[in-house]
């Protein structure tokens, strides 16, 4: 700080803004300046439809009067033209300011008839037709300006500010409680001012319940002191509500829930998700009949007579009221199912007590209970796999009456999941109904299968998910899910132990594009396949043939029912009488089998195992040169002879590499990656992966006695055997081959492994893929899942099924549905592919699906309501379709041709029918009142009900306050619903008073 400056600074006290009141005005003026609302040109009148199409812009600030806080809000309609025009006008105004030309915005708005009854607008703009205004309201929602003097004080302060700044925008003060929407306001324009006044009554006073009464109010308010008052212009809108749809009760018939409980339905019901709304998603139709700008002389409406017949109205418009919660079934099922994922209980916690009790039962009782369960209530000859297993593994013992899912229903469900357990004749009768699908939906479904990480449609995993969702809804929620899951896991174990393929799960390597649950089931199938192969080879020919279901038959994925083998199973229905003994026998046999296979370390076991083993050891030291009996040959390789002996080279039978599920692969890759990038890491990685190479080399050696590494390489990696043409001494070209340089690197992996490889045929090698271990891992994975996790694991399939359902029901005409469907599919692809199963993401997805369902239900509902059957002229069908589609898209739709158009005539019919129907039940009295009001003596029942809302806009150009004042616009808006509201804007000349 420089001292000289100090002396020049002296304190300034601004005595001009001393009181709260003055400070309020000053601050308000400041705000007006900040928002650049002063000395600004007038806005263009709003064009037709702008209120619907354009958005409002809002600015807020705070203002205090003493310690009372207010909020100042500026609202302006952003019309497409507003930006450029206002700029231009400011310039113009600068030039023409003195001439004082142009109509103030507030005047043009008041008299603008283009947007008399906007569908959607701020109430002030609805009442006064304004495109911009300011509101001063208490900042806190609990405060209210409840006395008239306070509101007057505020308003006069505001008008001082307006006067000072020259701002012509109307200012309103909100008085009384917020919900009453009471505003009083003022606007100052050059040479005139506008007072906005409002009346709000709970009940409609009888004398003002019609146009004539309202005109009286308007005229008396104008204080018509002179004789020749110009006619008042009147705009009227009556709104009628249609709630009863006589022609078309809501078409969605909710699924027959009783059938589920009685279990009389076919199996397919467990595989079909419900779709549609339980309640009509369209609750009501509002018909607005408008008479725009009539002269007061042209229409009469008083307490005895009315000209305002809706059928005579020049303009009709319609909007729909949607049911808030239409109870869409698909969404409901999905939501309920997903909610289970929040539960942390284990299966034991859920079902434990039921299981424990029955554990004490004697074995005989159990079988009896099982017999009861397997009672052929369904008429099929069901072996009810799950229960058979439960006896075999002594795991799931449940009193039938305490089980969450009753026995017969469980049978039905299991039979649905595993149709191969059914008798062959039955399976033929169950044919899938093929619904005709449009190319678009077929394309969509194909895309869906590609994008989502779920499982093939109609496969076991897919059906499983749907089935669980339905069981959850109908048969007792979480406990039922836990019960069914346990049954499912038991069935999986049964199939593994008894060599039955899991049907409808495709064979081969686990498909990494599918969900993890599906991959696990595929893995289990792989294990079963290997086990069957192993046992069929191992147990030799004839010895255990009856136990050998032809593996190739199943491997090709044929849906051949397994009933013949199933009939040999203990406890099948045919041999139930002897079930106790055969059951235990069967069990013992399986157990012993299990032990032998799990102890088995080798690729397959052989009766001559010991002998061969010794052989192998004998040959060990000889490695390459040893001559032994060739073993494990698959096929000769054409034109390839062993280099040493010149014998034919044979492709050996090799072990197939181990199939892996995605999580296993990730684990494996993680282990490999952990070794790092150094040379040692590389070496270790190679060694870790050499098992397959070793196995192949051993097989090769076994199949080709006297072979050398060169022979192996020629088969295995032909490019590593380099042929060279050398010219011999006698000029003859001689082809000699040698290993490629990389194979000659001393101590390299290939040489090393070759040296350690013994001639052992694949079937006697150590197993590369331990099917027993892997199957147990899968079964453990399945069994250890909590029901909540089960739910999450099923979500991909369920979402897939739900989207398919949406596509099936898709309404081709609804444009925004297509967009929504695209969004759903994108989101579903992302969510299902995410490695983290996030329940919240699925919730979003379910919500989107539910929305799509609602949109479809609405479209359906509307289409049944406006059927072409109701049309008089068949030619208008197209017109009707356009009307229906625009109803779904737009909030309010003008009925083309009004009451005379095709859509109008249908609406008329709908109302008439609803009226007739309601008057059958209604008592005479009320009918008479209506008759009196509507004045339709020709028919006993009026075509339309009483209007639910009546709106009148009265306008006049009248000089105020004195006859010699300027002619200024005057307007009064009246709305008569249950309550009664008048909103008047009265201008008066401030010069010639």
């Amino acid at each position: 700080m420089v001292p000289e400056d100090d002396s020049e600074v002296f304190e300034i006290t601004d005595f001009t803004t001393a009181s709260d009141w003055e400070r309020f005005i000053a601050r308000f003026e400041e705000i007006l300046h900040e928002w650049k609302l002063v000395n600004r040109g007038y806005l263009q009148p709003v064009k037709k439809g702008d209120f619907l199409n354009c958005n409002w812009e809002e600015k807020n600030d705070e203002l205090t009067f003493a310690d009372f806080k207010f909020k100042v809000t500026y609202m302006v309609l952003k019309t497409s033209s507003s930006g450029s025009k206002s700029g231009k006008e400011t310039k113009e105004e600068e030039n023409e300011e003195d001439q004082d030309e142009g109509t103030p915005t507030v005047f043009s708005d008041l008299m603008n008839m283009e947007n008399d009854f906007p569908f959607r607008a701020h109430c002030l703009s609805r009442w006064y037709g304004l495109q911009e205004f300011l509101i001063i309201s208490p900042a806190s929602t609990t405060d209210a300006i409840d006395s008239e003097s306070r509101s007057k004080l505020l308003l006069s302060s505001a008008s001082i500010a307006l006067n000072n700044t020259g701002c012509t925008i109307p200012v309103y003060v909100q008085v009384q409680q917020r919900w009453r929407k009471l505003y009083s306001g003022t606007a100052i324009v050059p040479g005139a001012s506008v007072e906005f006044e409002m009346a709000h009554l709970k009940k409609i006073p009888q004398q003002y319940n019609h146009l004539a009464g309202l005109l009286d109010v308007f005229k008396s308010k104008l204080g018509c002191v002179y004789i020749s008052m110009p006619p008042v212009s009147v705009s009227v809108r009556f709104t009628y509500i249609l709630q009863e749809w006589i022609h078309c009760p809501w078409p969605q018939s909710p699924p027959d829930f009783s059938s589920f409980l009685e279990c009389e339905v076919g199996c397919s019901d467990y595989g079909v998700l419900p779709f549609g709304a339980c309640i009509d998603p369209i609750s009501e139709l509002n018909l607005s009949c408008t008479w725009p700008s009539l002269s007061e002389d042209m229409i009469v409406e008083n307490h005895v007579y009315s000209d305002l017949d809706p059928l005579q109205a020049p303009q009709w418009s319609v909007k729909l009221q949607m049911t808030e919660d239409a109870q869409c079934l698909l969404g409901e099922y999905l939501r309920e199912f997903l909610e289970l994922s929040q539960h942390k209980e284990t299966t034991d916690e859920l079902l434990g007590h039921v299981l424990d009790e029955t554990d004490k039962d004697q074995a005989g009782d159990i079988t009896q209970a099982l017999q009861r369960l397997t009672e052929p209530a369904v008429g099929y000859n069901i072996p009810t796999l799950g229960h058979v297993v439960s006896s075999a593994t002594t795991k799931l013992k449940m009193k039938p009456d305490e089980a969450p899912i009753p026995g017969d229903i469980l049978n039905g469900v299991l039979l649905f999941l595993f149709p191969d357990a059914k008798k062959s004749e039955k399976s033929e009768s169950k044919e899938k109904e093929t619904v005709e699908k449009s190319p678009r939906s077929l394309k969509l479904m194909e895309d869906l299968s590609k994008q989502l990480k779920s499982s093939p449609v109609n496969g076991l995993t897919h059906r499983l998910a749907i089935c669980f969702c339905i069981v959850n809804h109908h048969h007792g929620g979480l406990r039922a899910v836990a019960h069914l899951w346990q049954e499912f896991v038991l069935e999986m174990r049964y199939r593994w132990e008894n060599n039955y393929y899991i049907t409808d799960v495709e064979h081969g390597q686990p498909n990494m594009k599918a969900s993890i649950l599906h991959q696990k089931l595929q893995m289990l199938n792989c294990c079963i396949e290997r086990k069957i192969k192993r046992e069929s080879l191992g147990y030799g020919h004839g010895k255990d043939l009856e136990h050998d279901p032809n593996p190739t038959d199943h491997a090709d994925g044929s849906s051949r029912p397994l009933s013949p083998t199933y009939q040999r199973r203990p406890l099948s229905t045919s041999s139930r009488s002897q079930s106790p003994s055969s059951g235990s026998m069967g069990k013992r046999r399986y157990e012993s089998l299990d032990i032998s296979s799990s102890d088995e370390e080798f690729f397959e076991c052989d009766t001559e195992q010991g002998e061969d083993e010794a052989d192998g050891e004998d040959h060990e030291s000889f490695a390459d040169t040893a001559s032994h009996k060739p073993d494990g040959r698959l096929a000769p390789i054409k034109d390839l002879k062993l280099l040493n002996s010149g014998e034919q080279v044979y492709i050996p039978i090799t072990q197939e590499p181990a199939p892996m599920t995605e999580d296993m692969l990730e684990e494996h890759a993680e282990v490999l990656a952990k070794l790092g990038t150094s040379a040692e890491g590389t070496q270790l990685r190679a060694r870790m992966q050499s098992a397959c190479l070793l196995s192949d080399m051993e097989s090769f050696k076994a199949a080709n006695p006297n072979c050398i590494l060169e022979d192996f390489v020629r088969w295995y990696s032909p490019r590593d055997y380099v042929l060279e043409e050398l010219e011999g001494e006698d000029g003859e070209k001689v082809k000699t081959g040698t290993l490629s340089p990389r194979m000659k690197i001393p101590g390299n992996m290939w040489v090393e492994v070759w040296q350690s490889a013994k001639p052992i045929p694949a079937r006697r090698q150590r197993r590369l893929f331990d099917d027993t271990k892997e199957a147990e891992k899968v079964l453990h994975f399945l069994a250890s899942m909590k029901p909540g996790q089960v739910v999450l694991h099923m979500m991909p399939m369920l979402i897939h099924a739900a989207i398919v359902k949406v596509i099936e029901n898709e309404d081709q005409d609804t444009e925004n549905l297509k967009v929504l469907l695209d969004q759903i599919m994108n989101k579903a692809a992302k969510v299902t592919r995410s490695p983290l199963m996030d329940a919240r993401k699925y919730e979003d997805l379910v919500r989107m699906i539910e929305l799509a369902e609602t949109v479809i239900a609405r479209a359906k509902s509307l289409k049944t309501k406006f059927t072409s059957d109701l049309l008089d002229m068949s030619s208008a069908e197209e017109e009707l379709q356009v009307f229906v589609n625009s109803l779904l898209r737009q909030p309010e739709v003008i009925v083309r041709g009004g009451p005379c158009g095709p859509a109008g005539s249908i609406i008329h019919k709908l109302f008439t029918a609803a009226q007739r129907a309601s008057h059958m039940v209604l008592d005479e009295e009320e009918g008479e009142i209506k008759l009196e009001e509507l004045q339709k003596p020709t028919s006993t029942v009026p075509d339309f009900p009483r209007p639910s809302a009546r709106e009148y806009i009265l306008r006049a150009m009248v000089p105020r306050p004195a006859p010699y004042s300027r002619v200024l616009p005057q307007k009064m808006y009246c709305v008569l619903v249950d309550d009664f509201r008048l909103a008047g804007a009265f201008s008066s000349d401030t010069t010639f008073q």
Binding site: K450, S678, T682, A686, K830
Partner: protein
């Protein structure tokens, strides 16, 4: 661990190698993105040499034929972002197909390699391409690479044929030599570019993606959560 920590060439790698989640270690602060790439192609077209040239800038005329699958890591900078490339090298022998195709799923980019001196390896390109289509996510990016272009005398596949095939398959194309270090870096840089473009494209086309975790492959996850909305 196996001496790699003395190998100071790629400091960013260390943290990730110590991490338990090799695919999605968001905790690793040493890179902004991680791309998993795969080199595939017939046996002895030079995949391992190519990778060594890129990652270690070294060349040996003979590497041991890869058994199964191996990998190297290289971190590159792209628009001020550290992109960690985890490049998996695969065995080309027919017998290893089932093993290697399992790894296709997590890969964001492929280098499909053939040997310009070997007709057979060129003829197999179509097959490899089919394999990619079958086993990878639909938005994985592929570059076709004709290796050993230094061996002009032994060349049997002309550059034009390579280019033609690449056009036909809709792939980018390079002729390279790991031995002479021709185009090696360019191939990887181009592949990273394509992947980044694809990523930002999907970000642009779908604004919701910014907040969501992954699009296509999981590897983007790390990137998306750390740098949401970034165009790479």
């Amino acid at each position: 661990m196996y001496g790699f920590q003395q190998n100071g060439t790629y400091p960013p790698v260390m943290a990730s190698a110590n991490d338990s989640k090799w695919q999605k270690d968001a905790a690793d602060q040493n890179f902004d993105y991680m791309f998993k790439l795969l080199i595939i192609g017939n046996s002895s077209v030079g995949k391992t040499s190519f990778l060594f040239r890129y990652a270690d800038d070294s060349f040996t005329s003979a590497f041991v034929s890869t058994v199964g699958i191996d990998f190297k890591v290289k971190t590159v900078f792209r628009q001020d972002k550290r992109v960690k490339l985890q490049i998996w090298d695969t065995a080309g022998q027919e017998r290893y197909r089932t093993i290697t195709t399992a790894y296709y799923r997590g890969a964001m980019g492929f280098l499909l390699m053939y040997d310009v001196t070997n007709e057979e390896s060129f003829n197999a390109v179509q097959d490899w391409c089919t394999q990619i289509k079958t086993y990878s996510w639909d938005n994985a990016q592929v570059v076709l690479v004709g290796n050993k272009c230094d061996l002009e005398d032994e060349r049997v596949v002309s550059m034009e044929r390579g280019k033609q095939l690449a056009d036909q398959l809709g792939l980018e194309f390079f002729e390279t030599s790991a031995k002479e270090n021709i185009n090696v870096k360019a191939v990887f840089e181009r592949l990273v570019d394509i992947i980044c473009d694809k990523m930002s494209e999907s970000l642009d086309s779908d604004p919701t993606l910014v907040s969501s975790q992954s699009k296509g492959t999981r590897l983007t996850e790390n990137a998306n959560t750390q740098n949401s909305g970034c165009s790479c």
